[in-house]
C-alpha cells in the first residue's frame, strides 16, 4: 500500500470521547516526531495543527469512544475518508472508562453530575469504534505505548503487519526478570489475562496489573478470578478490578 505511493501518505488523527492521552503519545515521541512528520503528511490532527478537515486519508488514527450523536455521524464520515483505520487506546477499542455508564442509566448519571442536564447531549452508552464502522487494526492500552504507535506507523509505511504481540503481560514480566507479585507477595494481578504492550510496568513497581491494556488473546478469566476469590478477594472487588478502562470489552464485560 504505502510503498507504491508517489506522494507522502496522508495521516489523519481524530478524537472522540477520551482524555487526549493517546494522541498526545504521538507528540510525546520527542525523538521520533520530526522523523514521522518527514515521512507522512500530517493532514488532520487538531491537537497539533490548525489544518481544516479536507480530503481523504491513507492512515487514520482514532482515539476515543462513541458517546454522542455527533460522534456517530463523524465516525462514519471519517471511515469513508480513510483507507486504513487504526483505533488507538482503550476508549476507541473497548469504550473506555466512560463505558461504565452502560451498566446504569445515563439519566441518573446526568442528574448526579450536572447542575443543568438539559445542556448536555449524550448517547445512553459509550461504545468502541468497531461497533459502528469496520476497523483495520486496534492498538491497545490506556494509554497506548508510544513505541507501539511508532511501530504501527512504520509498519504501515513499509506495507507490513505491525509487530504488536497479543500475549499476556506475564510474558513481559518474565522477560524483564520481574518476580511475580501474585506468587511472591499474594498481590492480586490481572497480568495473566491482560494484553501485553505496556512492558509490565505495574508489577515492576510492586503492584498488581490493573488491566489497562484490556484482555489478551483467549484470556482464562474464570481461572484467574477463581484464584482471586480463593485468596480472599471479594466478588465485588473482582468485579470492580475488571470493570475499569476496558470494562466493555467482551471478555471482561460479563465477568463476575
Amino acid at each position: 500500500m504505502a510503498k507504491t505511493m508517489n506522494r507522502k501518505p496522508r495521516l489523519g488523527v481524530f478524537k472522540f470521547a477520551s482524555c487526549d492521552g493517546c494522541q498526545l503519545s504521538l507528540l510525546d515521541c520527542e525523538d521520533e516526531l520530526l522523523v514521522v512528520a518527514g515521512a507522512v503528511e500530517i493532514a488532520y490532527f487538531l491537537e497539533a495543527t490548525r489544518r481544516p478537515l479536507r480530503g481523504r486519508f491513507d492512515l487514520t488514527l482514532v482515539e476515543g469512544s462513541i458517546s454522542s450523536p455527533e460522534q456517530l455521524d463523524l465516525i462514519r464520515d471519517v471511515r469513508a475518508r480513510s483507507k486504513f483505520l487504526v483505533t488507538i487506546g482503550a476508549c476507541a477499542t473497548a469504550g473506555g472508562i466512560q463505558a461504565l455508564r452502560n451498566w446504569g442509566h445515563v439519566k441518573e448519571y446526568l442528574e448526579a453530575v450536572y447542575a443543568r442536564p438539559d445542556y448536555i447531549k449524550t448517547l445512553d452508552t459509550s461504545t468502541p469504534i468497531a461497533e459502528h464502522v469496520p476497523v483495520d487494526f486496534e492498538l491497545r492500552g490506556c494509554p497506548i505505548n508510544k513505541h507501539q504507535l511508532v511501530e504501527v506507523i512504520a509498519a504501515f509505511l513499509a506495507g507490513r503487519r505491525p509487530n504488536v504481540p497479543n500475549h499476556a503481560v506475564c510474558v513481559e514480566c518474565k522477560r524483564a526478570g520481574t518476580v511475580c507479585v501474585m506468587v511472591a507477595q499474594g498481590i492480586p494481578c490481572l497480568g495473566p489475562i491482560t494484553h501485553a504492550g505496556c512492558g509490565a510496568i505495574c508489577p515492576s513497581f510492586d503492584r498488581g496489573c490493573y488491566g489497562c491494556f484490556g484482555p489478551s488473546k483467549t484470556p482464562n478469566v474464570v481461572s484467574l478470578t477463581t484464584q482471586f476469590s480463593q485468596s480472599g478477594v471479594s466478588s465485588d472487588a473482582i468485579r470492580r478490578v475488571l470493570h475499569t478502562f476496558n470494562a466493555w470489552s467482551p471478555e471482561f464485560r460479563d465477568a463476575q
Binding site: 482524555c19 525523538d31 461504565l100 449524550t122 472487588a237
Partner: protein, 268 residues
C-alpha cells in the same frame, strides 16, 4: 446606510486541550457577539466513582486528562488522604512535588511551543515551524528535548508519561533509587538553562495589546510555589481554604454579576 454584518465560525478549535468551536458575529467592524461551544461529550467521572474503593480513585481520575494526569492524581489522592487524616512525611511530599514538576515541564513546553507558538508566528503547527527555517528548527528541537526532560521525571517517579501508575493513597507503590534520581541531574541542569531560554524567547512573541477585567484564580502558599497546597485566591482579592472551594466558585460567579464591594469574604 445598511449595516454590514459578518460572522466568523470556527467549527473546531485547533491546538487546545479538549474540544470546542467558536462563532464571532460582527456588525460594522464591531464585535457584536461571541459564542464558545464546548462540545466535548460528558464522561461522568463523578457518577461512576461512587461505589469504588478509595484506593482506586487516583488511577481512575488520571483518565480525566491525558495531558495533565498527575494533576488529577494529586488532587484526588490529597482529597482521599484528607478524609482519612493522613499527612505525607517530607520526603514523600517532595517526591510527589517532583512528579508534578515533571508534568508541569512536559505540559508547559507542549503548550508554549507546540500549541500556542505556531499561532503567534503564523504557522499551522510546530512541525511546520521546524520545517520553516534552521533557526526555528533549533527552537523546536530544544522544545522537544525540554519536553522529554520533564517526561523523564514523570517516567522515573510515575512509571510512564501518560497515566502514571505509581501514586498510591498513602504515598507511592515503589520509591525510585538514589542513583536513578542522580541519573536525571545532568539533563535537568541543561533543562534549567533551556527553560530560561524559553522565557526569553517567548517574551519576544508578538502579544496583542489587549486587556480585559478577568479574575484569575490560583493557589497561594506562604513558603513555596504552590502546586499541591495552599489557599485558593483570586486576582481581585478573594481567598479561601481548599475545602471551601465550591463556595468560593459560587462567590466568583456572583461577582461577575454584582459590584465587588457588595460581596462577603473580599479582602481587597
Amino acid at each position: 446606510m445598511p449595516s454590514k454584518t459578518r460572522t466568523i465560525t470556527v467549527q473546531a478549535l485547533a491546538r487546545v486541550e479538549g474540544e470546542g468551536g467558536l462563532t464571532i458575529r460582527m456588525c460594522d467592524g464591531q464585535v457584536d457577539g461571541v459564542e464558545l461551544r464546548i462540545y466535548e461529550p460528558p464522561r461522568f467521572y463523578e457518577g461512576f466513582l461512587r461505589g469504588r474503593s478509595a484506593m482506586e480513585v487516583p488511577d481512575i481520575t488520571a483518565r480525566i486528562c491525558g495531558i495533565c494526569p498527575v494533576a488529577y492524581q494529586m488532587s484526588s489522592v490529597h482529597a482521599v488522604e484528607k478524609i482519612f487524616g493522613v499527612t505525607m512525611p517530607p520526603e514523600l511530599r517532595a517526591l510527589r512535588r517532583l512528579l508534578y514538576c515533571g508534568e508541569w515541564i512536559e505540559s508547559h513546553v507542549l503548550h508554549i511551543y507546540m500549541l500556542h507558538a505556531p499561532d503567534f508566528l503564523g504557522f499551522e503547527s510546530a512541525v511546520a515551524m521546524a520545517q520553516a527555517s534552521p533557526e526555528l528548527a533549533t527552537v523546536v528541537r530544544r522544545a522537544l528535548r525540554l519536553k522529554k526532560a520533564g517526561n523523564s521525571i514523570v517516567n522515573l517517579v510515575g512509571g510512564r508519561e501518560v497515566h502514571p501508575i505509581n501514586v498510591r493513597v498513602g504515598g507511592f507503590y515503589r520509591l525510585p533509587h538514589r542513583n536513578q534520581l542522580q541519573g536525571l541531574v545532568e539533563e535537568l541542569k541543561w533543562a534549567r538553562d533551556a527553560a530560561l531560554e524559553t522565557v526569553r524567547w517567548s517574551a519576544k512573541l508578538p502579544f496583542p495589546d489587549f486587556a480585559d477585567d478577568y479574575e484569575f484564580v490560583a493557589l497561594r502558599h506562604a513558603a513555596e510555589y504552590p502546586m499541591n497546597e495552599g489557599r485558593i485566591v483570586s486576582s481581585l482579592g478573594l481567598g479561601d481554604d481548599q475545602d471551601k472551594y465550591p463556595n468560593h466558585l459560587r462567590l466568583l460567579a456572583d461577582l461577575r454579576r454584582s459590584p465587588p464591594a457588595s460581596l462577603p469574604g473580599r479582602s481587597a
